[in-house]
């Protein structure tokens, strides 16, 4: 029965690939995105992957007939058609993080809440591989897969007025990285000098839906070195291709 297709106003339609968050449903979203990207359907203006949906924005003036478009999109997005090899290769990005201190003012709170040593929090936060389900909320912000449940910590009672971009945080069962400066209530456990969003760059966004992310603990000196390399624009985060 999937994908289901339904209108989002008069300039977008939503393809739905499941009603629960599963890796399989999100895989279907990624695959449909990939297929439609190569479909050369002339009316597609842009697409936004969600957890279990793919929203396709179109130009109504280029649409042949609405029902025909729905049919074409559904067919083009359908699973089962062979994919080119590079889709099964996922990018695995490793983000260096300085944990604790003034870069991670809530690390101790997260440790206390979960009755762990701070070292143990860092160990558990860095040993997981997080899947990027989708992007949204702010430019360059990734929605990451689940956090080790022993690290889950409620948001701060009083949100901070300004959390600097690069801050790595925990909110309930989620972990994430602030991609731009913004107000927020996440528990901040560390900071990555790597920029997730840089409007001045040809490719302004580092992470894309479908990527895998891990965090790597670095010391103050390494952090400073990477920070300066990022400032100069010469730092390249470690990226591996991973066979799924």
């Amino acid at each position: 029965m999937y994908p289901l297709i339904s209108p989002l106003g008069d300039r977008a339609v939503r393809l739905t690939f499941g009603n629960r968050l599963t890796e399989k449903a999100n895989d279907s979203v990624q695959a449909a995105y990939f297929r439609l990207n190569h479909s050369e359907l002339p009316y597609i203006s842009e697409m936004v992957p969600g957890y279990v949906t793919l929203t396709v924005y179109y130009d109504p003036l280029k649409v042949p007939a609405y029902n025909k478009m729905l049919h074409q999109l559904k067919n083009a997005a359908k699973a089962g058609q062979p994919l080119e090899n590079d889709f099964s290769q996922k990018r695995h990005l490793i983000l260096p993080v300085y944990y604790g201190g003034n870069k991670g003012p809530d690390l101790e709170e997260v440790a206390r809440w979960n009755s762990l040593e701070t070292e143990e929090v860092i160990k558990r936060h860095t040993r997981a591989t997080y899947r990027v389900y989708m992007m949204g909320f702010a430019p360059g912000f990734p929605y990451l897969g689940e956090l080790d449940e022993t690290l889950a910590t409620p948001r701060r009672k009083t949100p901070r007025k300004k959390v600097p971009s690069g801050s790595v945080g925990i909110a309930g069962p989620q972990t994430g990285v602030y991609s731009v400066d913004s107000p927020g209530g996440w528990q901040i456990i560390g900071h990555t000098p790597v920029r997730l969003f840089d409007a001045g760059k040809e490719e302004p966004v580092l992470i894309k839906a479908g990527d895998l992310i891990s965090f790597k603990s670095v010391n103050e000196q390494e952090y400073e070195d990477i920070f300066h390399e990022c400032e100069k624009g010469i730092y390249r985060p470690s990226i591996e291709s991973k066979e799924e």
Binding site: L4, S6, P7, L8, G9, D10, R11, A12, R14, L21, S45, E46, M47, V48, P49, G50, Y51, V52, T53, T55, Y57, P60, L61, V63, Y66, M134, M135, G136, F137, A138, P139, G140, F141, Y143, S179, V180, S182, F197, A199, P204, V205, K208, A209
Partner: protein, 320 residues
């Protein structure tokens, strides 16, 4: 390129906008662009510009603007009582202004958002292919912020022979929108209306909702009868559109506008047809809205109508 205008007083929330930063919503970058796309397009048309040139969006309290060169300007949208050197000038028309003259705005009469286009377009630096200002991520405009006192905006200096061809254009009265204190807008229902009770859907389509003061370029929060969910008041986050109406757990609908976040996690009751967005953009806090069920087909028909109208206007303006 040289500075064409200088901001003497910034007004309430004055920003540079073009048609928007499209193509990057999948990376969380919202398009921004004008709140009232129709008035914006007409402003560029009247100034003899391409439809995607950058213009100034003015909100309620207008700026004071000094001209540093001879220019042709066009003002459209809300009637905020514009004057040049103290003399009343028309809304929905283009006019010639001399170097040194000052444009000011006064009492808001109808509507909220006015557009000021300048012949040749505002030529600030593009950020991610657009000049549209998005203050939350500090993109576009000047330093990603609303205009401030002392800001100078670059543009193309055009010879007086060209300017005289562009001045004195007026949009015919019959084509000017009426900005009222109540508007009915048409909605394309979302499949997520299944998250709401039958009674809630009936309430939504039969009652008026008030625009609250918590309304800005990001979204309009509405006040009225509660729109109750059956159970769940959250969905798995997914993309939204300009004009989507989402309802969080408190039952008060939010209309997502030009600076919305790209994705949302609340169920959507529907999305306003593109042609009706201007009606929402021009409402003040305290004004009211009601909703009528519509369809994708109707949305497309009106979109086509508007596109054809703009094409015809463009041709007739160039011929005159």
């Amino acid at each position: 390129m040289s500075p064409l205008i200088k901001i003497e007083e910034p007004g309430l929330h004055t920003t540079i906008q073009d048609t928007g930063r499209y193509g990057m919503q999948q990376y969380g970058v919202v398009p921004s662009g004008p709140m009232d796309p129709f008035a914006f397009r007409i402003a560029n048309l009247l100034a003899g510009n391409a439809p995607d040139e950058a213009a100034i969006e003015i909100t309620m309290v207008g700026p004071s603007v000094r001209f540093l060169e001879n220019c042709v300007i066009a003002i459209t949208g809300a009637n905020l009582s514009p004057t040049v050197d103290g003399r009343k000038v028309p809304v929905w028309g283009s006019l010639y202004v001399k170097k040194g003259q000052e444009l000011q705005f006064g009492k808001p009469k109808h509507g909220v958002r006015a557009y000021l286009a300048i012949a040749g377009g505002i030529q600030t630096q593009k950020v991610l292919h657009s000049r549209a200002t998005y203050t939350k991520a500090e993109l576009g405009g000047l330093k990603g912020q609303p205009l401030e006192t002392g800001d100078e905006l670059p543009g193309r200096t055009l010879p007086d022979t060209e300017l005289s061809k562009r001045k004195g254009k007026l949009l015919s009265e019959s084509l000017r929108p009426y900005y009222q204190s109540h508007h009915m807008v048409r909605i394309i229902p979302d499949e997520q209306e299944s998250y709401f009770t039958k009674e809630a859907l009936q309430t939504f389509y039969t009652h008026s909702f008030k625009v609250t003061p918590q309304s800005d370029r990001m979204g309009y929060r509405l006040q009225g009868q509660q729109i109750a969910h059956k159970q769940e008041a959250e969905i798995l986050s997914e993309a939204v559109a300009f004009g989507s109406i989402q309802v969080p757990a408190d039952g008060a609908p939010i209309i997502l506008m030009a600076d919305r976040q790209t994705t949302g996690g609340y169920p959507k009751i529907g999305t306003i047809i593109t042609h009706d967005l201007w009606k929402v953009a021009q409402l003040m806090p305290g004004h009211t809205l009601s909703f009528q069920r519509s369809s994708v087909e109707e949305g497309h028909l009106w979109h086509e109508y508007e596109t054809n109208l703009l094409k015809k206007l463009s041709v007739s303006i160039q011929q005159k």
